[in-house]
């Protein structure tokens, strides 16, 4: 390692960018060469000075408003994502709610319509029978009205004197 080699590598040595054997060779040469050692100490001082200046500048920066602003922006993004998620979830939620509501309505209707033992005879009685007849008006003497429940067949009896089959 010569002084020319050290002069060529001194910036990389100061930034610790050289491989370890080269770093060691540069350091051994500087330890035995006062010229290269002075050169390296000046460069090291300049680096420290620049770093100090940069740190001072960085410390002087007012970042108090930055993070709240970033946080607020991040919150807005999160909120937007949340609404997006909700909006995406609306059809499924609406479908689910609709299904539940429909089930509830059907159940309520079935409960309302389901015949109880008391109402069943009424439904059977209201069924139209093949011979069902409604008498709106009936006049005559000594009349009787009978109805056969199975077919609804109605008979009007007149008990006329001497009204047998043959007179």
């Amino acid at each position: 390692m010569t002084c020319a080699d050290v002069e060529r590598l001194v910036d990389a040595f100061a930034d610790a960018e050289l491989p370890a054997p080269t770093m060691l060779a540069v350091a051994r040469h500087a330890a035995g060469c006062s010229t290269c050692d002075d050169s390296m100490r000046r460069l090291q001082a300049l680096h420290e000075s620049v770093a100090h200046a940069v740190r001072a500048e960085a410390d002087a920066l007012d970042l108090s408003r930055v993070w709240p602003a970033v946080s607020a922006a991040a919150d807005r993004v999160d909120a937007r994502r949340s609404w997006t998620r909700r909006a995406r979830a609306v059809p499924a939620a609406a479908a689910g709610a609709l299904a539940i509501a429909a089930t509830a309505v059907l159940w309520l209707q079935s409960v309302r319509v389901a015949p109880t033992p008391e109402t069943t005879p009424t439904l059977v009685a209201s069924r139209a029978l093949p011979n069902q007849a409604f008498i709106d008006r009936l006049t005559g003497k000594d009349l009787r009205l009978r109805r056969e429940p199975r077919s609804g067949t109605t008979i009007i009896w007149v008990n006329a004197t001497g009204a047998g089959f043959a007179r």
Binding site: F134, I135, G140, A160, G164
Partner: protein, 148 residues
């Protein structure tokens, strides 16, 4: 083209209605002798049990029957054994039932005078005489109405 289709449609609806109005309904009157004893006619077998429950007799024989086409609002008179008559006047249809006036006449005397709504193709009965207990039998008139 559309007018012709509409006209044909209206004609298709109107013609059956007009035909039904013109034809009126068919009335069938069957006079049956009911008695305590004796055989029953085969044609009455399907309704024998029903007649038995209604009138109490066991034997049923067809004495006379008549089927006639009746027009609406025009009375039709059917001869009944024993010198009586049955006058039927169809008035119209209401809820699948035939609305009609039915009069059972003994000469000029009205034995029965009624307004009924009988289910279309249904049968109702008129009984003349004492109910069960008489051996000489009674007269049962089966009245069936069928609108076209």
């Amino acid at each position: 083209m559309r007018r012709a289709t509409v006209a044909l449609g209206l004609l298709g609806v109107a013609l059956p209605i007009a035909a039904a109005v013109a034809l009126g309904m068919e009335v069938q009157v069957v006079s049956v002798r009911a008695a305590e004893r004796g055989p029953s006619d085969v044609e009455l077998q399907p309704v024998r049990a029903r007649l038995r429950r209604l009138v109490g007799y066991r034997s049923f024989r067809v004495v006379q029957q008549e089927r006639r086409q009746c027009s609406w609002r025009n009375p039709a008179e059917f001869t009944i054994p024993g010198g009586r008559s049955l006058r039927v006047m169809p008035k119209g249809m209401q809820d699948e039932a035939v609305v009609m006036q039915v009069r059972l006449l003994d000469g000029r005397r009205r034995l029965i005078d009624t307004d009924v709504r009988l289910r279309n193709r249904g049968t109702m009965l008129l009984g003349v005489g004492p109910q069960a207990g008489r051996t000489d039998g009674v007269l049962i008139i089966m009245l069936k109405a069928e609108a076209q």
